[in-house]
C-alpha cells in the first residue's frame, strides 16, 4: 500500500476508534502518565497493523490493540519501578467506600499482567459489560472457552489480590 493511502486509512481508523481507545485505556490505566503512554502504543499499533483493521475482524483486533497497549504501558511503568502518583489516580464514584484508589490501581495493574486472552475476556465481560456470545465472537472462540477465560482471569485476579484487606468486609 502506498504511503499516502496508508496515511488516509490511518486517519479514518483513528477517527473511528479514538473514542473507544480513549475510554478503554483511561478505564484501564486511571493515570494520565500511563494513559499517555498507552494511547501512543495504541496509535503505533494501528499504524503498524492497518491491513488487519480493514478486514472483518477489525473490531476484535482493536480490542487486542487496546489491551496490548495497556499491558505495555503498565509493564514499562512497573519496569521503571516508578511510583504512581496518588493524586493522578482518577476517583471513581463507587458505592463501596471500602475500595480506595490504591486498590483500584492494584486491580488495574493486575489486569495488565494477565495473559492476553484472559485480559481481553475479563475487560469485555465486566468493564465493557458484554455478553459471552459477543466475547466469543471477538476472541474468535467458542462461548464456553470465553467463559473459561473470564473465570480463569477472575481466579488469577483473586489470587494476586488476596493480600488486600478489602475481602473481609
Amino acid at each position: 500500500m502506498r504511503y499516502s493511502k496508508r496515511l488516509e486509512l490511518f486517519e479514518k481508523l483513528k477517527k473511528e476508534y479514538a473514542g473507544y481507545l480513549t475510554s478503554t485505556l483511561w478505564k484501564l490505566t486511571g493515570s494520565t502518565d500511563i494513559f499517555t503512554e498507552a494511547i501512543q502504543y495504541a496509535f503505533l499499533a494501528i499504524w503498524m497493523n492497518l491491513e488487519k483493521l480493514t478486514g472483518p475482524q477489525a473490531g476484535a483486533y482493536i480490542y487486542r490493540i487496546a489491551l496490548s497497549a495497556n499491558s505495555k504501558a503498565w509493564r514499562t511503568r512497573i519496569g521503571r519501578n516508578v511510583q504512581i502518583p496518588k493524586t493522578d489516580v482518577f476517583k471513581i464514584p463507587t458505592a463501596d467506600a471500602s475500595v480506595d484508589e490504591e486498590t483500584l490501581t492494584l486491580v488495574r495493574k493486575e489486569i495488565a499482567k494477565l495473559p492476553e486472552k484472559q485480559a481481553q475476556a475479563v475487560v469485555m465481560r465486566y468493564i465493557d459489560q458484554r455478553d459471552y456470545q459477543t466475547i466469543a465472537d471477538k476472541l474468535n472462540c467458542a462461548e464456553d472457552t470465553a467463559r473459561s477465560h473470564v473465570s480463569k482471569a477472575i481466579v488469577a485476579l483473586r489470587e494476586k489480590l488476596a493480600h488486600l484487606n478489602i475481602w473481609e468486609s
Binding site: 504511503y3 499516502s4 496515511l7 490511518f10 486517519e11 483513528k14 479514538a18 481507545l21 480513549t22 475510554s23 483511561w26 478505564k27 484501564l28 486511571g30 494520565t32 494513559f35 499517555t36 494511547i39 501512543q40 496509535f43 503505533l44 499504524w47 482518577f90 471513581i92 464514584p93 463507587t94 463501596d96 475500595v99 486498590t103 483500584l104 486491580v107 488495574r108 475479563v122 465486566y126 468493564i127 465493557d128 459489560q129 477472575i154 485476579l157 483473586r158 489480590l161 478489602i166 475481602w167
Partner: protein
C-alpha cells in the same frame, strides 16, 4: 463473596467517565502522531529515490562481477578435446553370452570345469524313493533264500 466484590470493583472501573483533560491528551497525542507521520512522508521520496538508485547500482555491480569472473575462468581453463577413439568401449564390458569360463582358450582347465558343471548331474538319476528301495530289498531276500 470475594469474587462478587472483585466483579463489583471491575464494574465500577467500567463505569468510569473520561475526564475532559484525558480526551485532550488523547487528541494531542493523535495530532502529534499524525504530524510525525507527515514529516516522515515529506522525507520519504528523497530517501526512496536514493535507496532505489543504490539497489540498482548494487544489482548492476553484481551482474558485472559475475560476468567478469565467468569470462576469466573461461579463458584460463579450456575444456579438453574429446576424441572419438576414447569412446571406444574403454569403460564398457561386453555382455556375457555364456559361462565366463567358456570364453577362454579351448580345452583349458576352467573350460572343462565349466562344461562339466553345465552337464546334468549323474547322481540325480540315482535317487530313489522309499517304495523302490523296499521292492529292491524284497527281491534281494527272495533271491537269497531261493
Amino acid at each position: 463473596m470475594n469474587e462478587e466484590k472483585l466483579i463489583q470493583i471491575l464494574k465500577n472501573i467500567g463505569q468510569t467517565d473520561v475526564p475532559p483533560n484525558v480526551t485532550l491528551i488523547a487528541e494531542q497525542t493523535s495530532q502529534s502522531f499524525t504530524a510525525a507521520l507527515n514529516v516522515l512522508q515529506a522525507q520519504r521520496p528523497q530517501r526512496t529515490r536514493f535507496v532505489i538508485g543504490l539497489r540498482l547500482l548494487a544489482a548492476a555491480a553484481v551482474v558485472l562481477l559475475v560476468f567478469a569472473i565467468g569470462l576469466s575462468v573461461g579463458q584460463r581453463f579450456t575444456p579438453p578435446q574429446t576424441q572419438l577413439s576414447s569412446l571406444n568401449l574403454t569403460g564398457y564390458a561386453l555382455p556375457m553370452p555364456t559361462h565366463p569360463a567358456v570364453q577362454q582358450a579351448k580345452d583349458g582347465f576352467w573350460r572343462q570345469k565349466a562344461l562339466a558343471a553345465m552337464q546334468p548331474r549323474p547322481y540325480a538319476q540315482t535317487k530313489f524313493d522309499k517304495t523302490s528301495l523296499l521292492n529292491t530289498y524284497k527281491q534281494y531276500l527272495k533271491e537269497k533264500h531261493v
